[in-house]
Symmetry: C2
């Protein structure tokens, strides 16, 4: 199958592209490397030393004989996106190409607006491009379990049957997202559902839980294929971050009580879930939602697991509770369904001592690359203007420029039309 | 009270600004006149000859002694918006400043993206600006009943209590909007709800029905104060459009069977509902939702009313059924609650023979300004690329330019970052 992987240079995208290539699919990666740029903006880097995409693809071809093509550009550029679809003619498109960090979206107004415009416009463009140039193409979109929030009732997979005043209907499950990033994913879901309805597109929304791990069979083949491993407060997912903290003797940073429960999955299951979606496409006109996670843990559970695994390899791991920088329930009911992917054949890799041991060892191996100043949370949900790690430099740049300068984005997130600040008929 | 009316040069905004000024409030209008520009883009104009804002405000002051100030700029320009709030220091902000036409948003990719970016970014900016510079200010946001769609159960005002698997929670009412425009309003609602939660802002979302009428006590005072009366397929709301059709002997254009039921209200009730919201602000941290309409009609009901009213003044009015250009249920259950504004004192102006008679007479009076070529629907929901009335001219302009030219927007809706269309490692 010809499969386009949008955002294929990123964490989940890279693992997915290699895995699907290994299964014999014809893969193309679409990326603009903005994820690498955000690292520069934040003064952060992945724990693992990742290579440039061109290198990665060259080595993959040398090792396996498989060829992965690439289109370098931005999905918010409609002409670029259409050009790719006309040229590559994908049968499935996997859309990872979004700004995926909740804290990044909560830094300030510019980052919130950038996140929503980037994500919503990219997905809107994709819907139009598929409608106009590849209407049979199956769209597989990465959503997040965070779209649902933490309601006091069971979370279903996308839809819920509601009985109300003696009548009944199947409705989209109500969403209560917890950051401007999570909101952007909710906006996407609504837009995609509508496009399926009016244009007959087929789409699968994968509401993914928190991903952990970095090793898949493919990236393990060679140092040049190594995947990202983010541990900073902005892009580091919780289990990976805890392993890095354990490796350098930093207390595990549990936000609040740690009773926040979330769905989790191993990155080896991410790639398999996407494959399952590819092999079982949604019907024409169908907007299908899968909850993509395998286990539920509280944040404190995760910390306890890392502490125990650390002890076994001689690490003395402390757990600390910080004031929660997010606005979220620190203890709550949580029961989210996740049977649809299992029904289609997913065999989960549950969180194991082996996995924790391997992750900790990776963290120890690369510990000289760890900048511990990136770990403590600076972005506070209750504030609308937060300091970034490199804020000092940014402030200087903004002072010298004004409009588009200093933010680290290589394009202004939006194009304000002409305006005058002076009141007129006052 | 100091009240900022965003979009105060538009249809609902103008009527509201004058009405609140008359009640003794200190009003400022914020507008960038893009609504007037869309008329030029579409080759359309309001039936009634509206004056420039500066003229309108001058005459209002001469007639009443009341002074309405203005800030000319775009709410998607954050610096402009912050400047206005710091200078005017509003106690309430009424946000009408959005692209409000469903067909406009369905013309093509550019119009869909423009609508969502314009509306979502404007509202996001407003949330940040209020949080940073006027956290006590009450935000009154115009939403639409179209956010709900037409579910098979009763529509509540914003929230619904759901019992599911033996547990219960109050959840946001699930949304099923029917155009990229309506989707933008749903995105706004989610963003506002979140901002109220994390920052303690107070906001009222007015989910307004289809507005009809053009005359309020204030605009009737002088020809210079006359309000818009749109009848074209893009911006004309249904009752106003039917009256124009009746006036010139054009059959009333019912889409499909006409069994589509919607909530309606007189523009005299729009201004009163907004006043009620101002006088009874939401609490800090509260995201309050009112369904703002007074009566439910099917489209065919409306056509029959106009036909009957036409007969009385000697007009021979036919009704025609066109294939529905929208994707919507042509017959469906519809029972939407709308008691909260009534409970706070709204006394509705129900649709009357007098009102229909007055509207028809306005249509007859200005019939020499009617361009009947603007009435038939060209924008088809099932297509992703529709012709605009002025498409010929647009096509020529696009051919000669490319990127930002020819669309009629005075700024590109988004700023694509650098991209290359050539595949790289292929």
């Amino acid at each position: 199958m010809k499969i386009a992987v949008l955002g294929g240079d990123g964490y989940c995208g890279w693992a997915t592209a290699l895995y699907l290539s290994k299964q014999g699919h014809e893969i193309s990666i679409i990326d603009n490397f903005v994820r690498r740029q955000w690292d520069h903006e934040l003064g952060a880097q992945t724990l693992t030393p990742i290579r440039p995409l061109s290198d990665r693809l060259r080595v993959w071809h040398q090792l396996t004989g498989y060829n992965i093509s690439s289109y370098i550009g931005d999905v918010t550029d409609y002409e670029f996106l259409v050009g790719m679809i006309q040229d590559f003619e994908p049968e499935a498109i996997i859309h990872f190409a979004e700004q995926r960090s909740a804290p990044y979206s909560m830094i300030d107004q510019r980052h919130a607006v950038f996140t929503q415009v980037n994500n919503v416009v990219g997905t809107l463009n994709l819907l139009f491009a598929v409608r106009e140039h590849a209407p049979q193409c199956h769209l597989i979109k990465l959503g997040t379990m965070g779209e649902y929030g933490t309601p006091n009732i069971d979370i279903e997979e996308g839809y819920i049957t509601i009985e109300h005043n003696g009548r009944k209907d199947v409705m989209p499950y109500p969403k209560q997202p917890g950051s401007f990033y999570h909101l952007s994913k909710v906006h996407d879901s609504h837009n995609i559902m509508f496009a399926c309805k009016v244009w007959g597109l087929s789409a699968t929304d994968l509401n993914q839980g928190v991903v952990y791990g970095t090793v898949t069979d493919e990236v393990e083949m060679d140092e040049a294929l190594i995947n990202r491993f983010d541990y900073d407060e902005i892009f580091g997912t919780v289990l990976n971050r805890f392993c890095v903290e354990a490796a350098i003797g930093h207390p595990l940073t549990v936000y609040g009580k740690g009773g926040q429960q979330r769905g989790f999955l191993d990155i080896r299951d991410t790639v398999r879930c996407v494959e399952i979606a590819c092999n079982h496409p949604a019907k024409a006109g169908e907007f299908r939602v899968f909850n993509q996670f395998t286990e539920r843990f509280s944040i404190l559970d995760i910390a306890n697991h890392v502490q125990a695994a650390g002890k076994k390899i001689g690490l003395d791991v402390e757990i600390t509770h910080l004031p929660d920088p997010r606005v979220e329930a620190e203890e709550h009911y949580y029961n989210a369904k996740h049977s649809k992917l299992i029904d289609l054949g997913l065999q989960p890799h549950y969180l194991s001592e082996n996995l924790l041991d391997s992750l900790l060892k990776i963290a120890v191996r690369y510990q000289d690359r760890i900048d511990s100043s990136l770990i403590m949370p600076r972005v506070n949900w209750r504030k609308s203007r937060n300091e970034k790690p490199q804020q000092g430099a940014v402030r200087a740049a903004v002072a010298g420029n004004g409009k588009n300068g200093g933010n680290g984005h290589h394009a202004a997130p939006l194009a304000p039309v002409a305006s005058a600040k002076t009141p007129r008929a006052k």
